[in-house]
């Protein structure tokens, strides 16, 4: 078994398309979406990264392309090290990624959650339904354009909707969270409640 020091070399020899990814802790790689499955399988079978700890995604906001990055974290129970793998989704409008649920049964729920929150479709997933939100929910809440307070929508059940006549309403922010906006001039960045309109640019949600 190779030690962790030469893991980057081993991976880049095996997969020339894999590039090192900036990381503050464990080894990390960027791979093309098409190679992700092969690299994950290589890491599991050859490099003894037997645990899939986490699957998630990052939304780099609508202005950026590629917009979505899927991130896997693997852990080796023998080497006691982590490795991070990231792959950009080719399409920004219809993001997709091959599923890893064939390699790890636990990926099933992780991928359902990632689909639920970001709308990334995992090709080949046996049962890609929403998991935390209800099935008919129309939005993907962890996308950057989705507001913190939420968006008005129908209740999960038509019966309930008919009975109470009120859908899901945005959360009252009640003055919070009261933080500065990073990356803007100090006059703009002054701490304020996120739903408070101090000028025309910030519209208060209903």
């Amino acid at each position: 078994m190779t030690t962790d020091v030469d893991l980057p070399t081993a991976v880049s020899q095996q997969f020339p398309t894999a590039a090192p990814r900036p990381s503050l802790d464990c080894p990390a790689f960027n791979v093309p979406a098409g190679d992700a499955l092969a690299v994950l399988q290589y890491l599991r079978d050859t490099q003894a990264y037997d645990f899939l700890m986490d699957v998630t995604a990052i939304d780099w906001s609508a202005e950026q392309s590629p917009r979505f990055t899927v991130v896997w974290h693997l852990y080796s129970s023998t080497k006691h090290t982590y490795v991070r793998l990231a792959a950009n989704c080719a399409s920004d409008a219809e993001p997709a990624m091959p599923t890893t649920s064939g390699l790890w049964a636990g990926a099933d729920w992780h991928e359902r959650e990632t689909y639920d929150m970001f709308g990334i479709k995992f090709a080949g997933h046996p049962d890609l339904r929403r998991i935390l939100m209800w099935d008919a929910y129309p939005y993907f809440p962890l996308r950057k354009e989705f507001p913190l307070a939420g968006l008005p929508t129908e209740m999960s059940d038509a019966d309930i909707n008919a009975e109470i006549g009120v859908g899901v309403i945005p959360a009252p922010m009640a003055g919070g969270p009261f933080v500065a906006t990073p990356g803007v001039p100090m006059s703009e960045a002054e701490p304020r409640a996120k739903d408070e309109a101090w000028d025309e640019k910030r519209e208060k949600p209903e």
Partner: protein, 410 residues
């Protein structure tokens, strides 16, 4: 409601079941408010007589969007939200989150701060396992265990209250330190608690370990094989119960765990009984760690002194020095200043491995934060585990997994 979902593993297992009755399958919804689902878990069953042929956990009833909230506030402001993940052991969550952010900042903490964190995390482990054990007792019909457990848990909560000011929502850590130092004489009280707790723990475990009814309800029920435990990403006592000796406190020590002597209990069969035994033994090991800690409690600073842009200065300095006042204002409003980058940190929590993946673009607010919650992963094995069992055994299985929905749904 039809049960039209597919879990490949579970379907294979269901196909191999002998047919109990040649009747129409029945649909049964268990939860979201059912005493054995420990919160708001719902399981949609398909039953053949009383045998489960399909099980689909429906989660999300407690989804609050913690990850979205984290993207909208400073690092310190998120600490109270970590209390509400695994609300049975908030001190352990506080610590895991703080260490994750400190890894991002590249901060080293003084020994006293690390020791206090380990002490509180181990106390949280004991209180969490007491809760799990007591609730499990009720699930399988042993009420008195619950009473004993809650009395001990109450003593721990008294100690937490004295330390943090709150019994449940402790919010004890800050990035780069703690909310406050331990009060005078507190560690002696913790020591006294440990001394009186060990004989009572023996008594509590004695109520169950050789109890015929308990054995009938747990032995050979809900067996998780080693391979399954790894494939589904199980962690904590649920993984160790299946015979995989993984414990991050030993394997990848953080916050000075390498200094303490303790053993990692491992099961042999992976059934409900093994998971119960692991939790019982883990409590004893936690007490062992606490005893070592209290004996040699390190002195010195309880927060990182050199982290001037991260940990707010002491109150008296803020009121007497202009520079410290400005510094405090900046930390409170803009948040502790972090470098850009990505970290993933996992801590061995009572329920399993709690992970935080933080993507920072610099500044005081994370760009993206993912919470890898142990209960979520531990529950993902349910579709496979429940199939072939009686509905009453599902109750036993759920209790043995010891999950918390606050953490599962986030």
């Amino acid at each position: 409601m039809a049960t039209d979902f597919s879990y490949p593993d579970a379907a294979v297992k269901a196909a191999s079941l002998p047919k109990e009755f040649d009747l129409e399958k029945m649909s049964l919804s268990m939860g979201p408010s059912h005493p054995s689902t420990h919160g708001v878990l719902r399981i949609q069953f398909e039953l053949d007589g009383e045998i489960v042929t399909k099980a689909d956990p429906v989660i999300g009833y407690l989804h609050r969007g913690d990850e979205k909230i984290a993207e909208n506030m400073t690092y310190n402001q998120f600490v109270p939200y970590t209390d509400r993940l695994d609300y049975i052991a908030p001190l352990a969550n506080n610590m895991a989150y703080a260490i994750a952010v400190e890894r991002l900042a590249g901060l080293e903490l003084p020994p006293r701060c690390q020791a206090i964190r380990v002490l509180t995390a181990e106390m949280a482990r004991v209180s969490s396992h007491l809760m799990g054990l007591g609730a499990y007792g009720i699930d399988v019909g042993a009420w008195s265990v619950f009473m004993y457990c809650f009395e001990e848990r109450e003593k721990l909560y008294k100690l937490f209250e004295e330390l943090t000011g709150a019994r449940f929502t402790t919010s004890y850590t800050r990035i780069g330190g703690l909310a406050r130092d331990v009060p005078e004489g507190w560690t002696q009280k913790v020591d006294a608690f440990c001394d009186q707790f060990l004989p009572i723990l023996e008594e509590i475990l004695g109520l169950l370990t050789r109890n015929k009814i308990f054995l009938d309800r747990t032995v050979d029920i809900g067996v998780i094989s080693k391979a399954d435990a790894i494939a589904y990403g199980l962690t904590g006592p649920n993984l160790r119960g299946s015979g995989v000796p993984n414990d991050l406190r030993k394997d990848k020590p953080y916050s000075g765990y390498e200094q303490y002597e303790f053993d990692v209990p491992v099961g042999s069969k992976g059934d409900c009984y093994d998971r119960y035994l692991c939790r019982g033994e883990e409590m004893k090991q936690s007490i062992r760690i606490i005893k070592q800690l209290v004996k040699n409690f390190p002195g010195g600073d309880w927060y990182a002194k050199d982290a001037r842009k991260i940990f707010a200065p002491p109150k008296d300095k803020i009121l007497s020095s202009m520079e410290e006042l400005i510094n405090n204002f900046m930390i409170v409003t803009e948040g502790p200043q972090m470098p850009a980058g990505e970290v993933y940190f996992e801590a061995e929590n009572p329920k399993g491995v709690l992970g935080f993946y933080i993507v920072s673009k610099g500044g005081g607010v994370p760009y993206r934060m993912k919470i890898r919650s142990p209960s979520f992963c531990n529950l993902s094995i349910l579709p496979k585990l429940c199939v072939g069992n009686l509905v009453s055994d599902v109750v036993s299985i759920l209790g043995s997994l010891d999950f918390v929905m606050g953490e599962c749904d986030r």
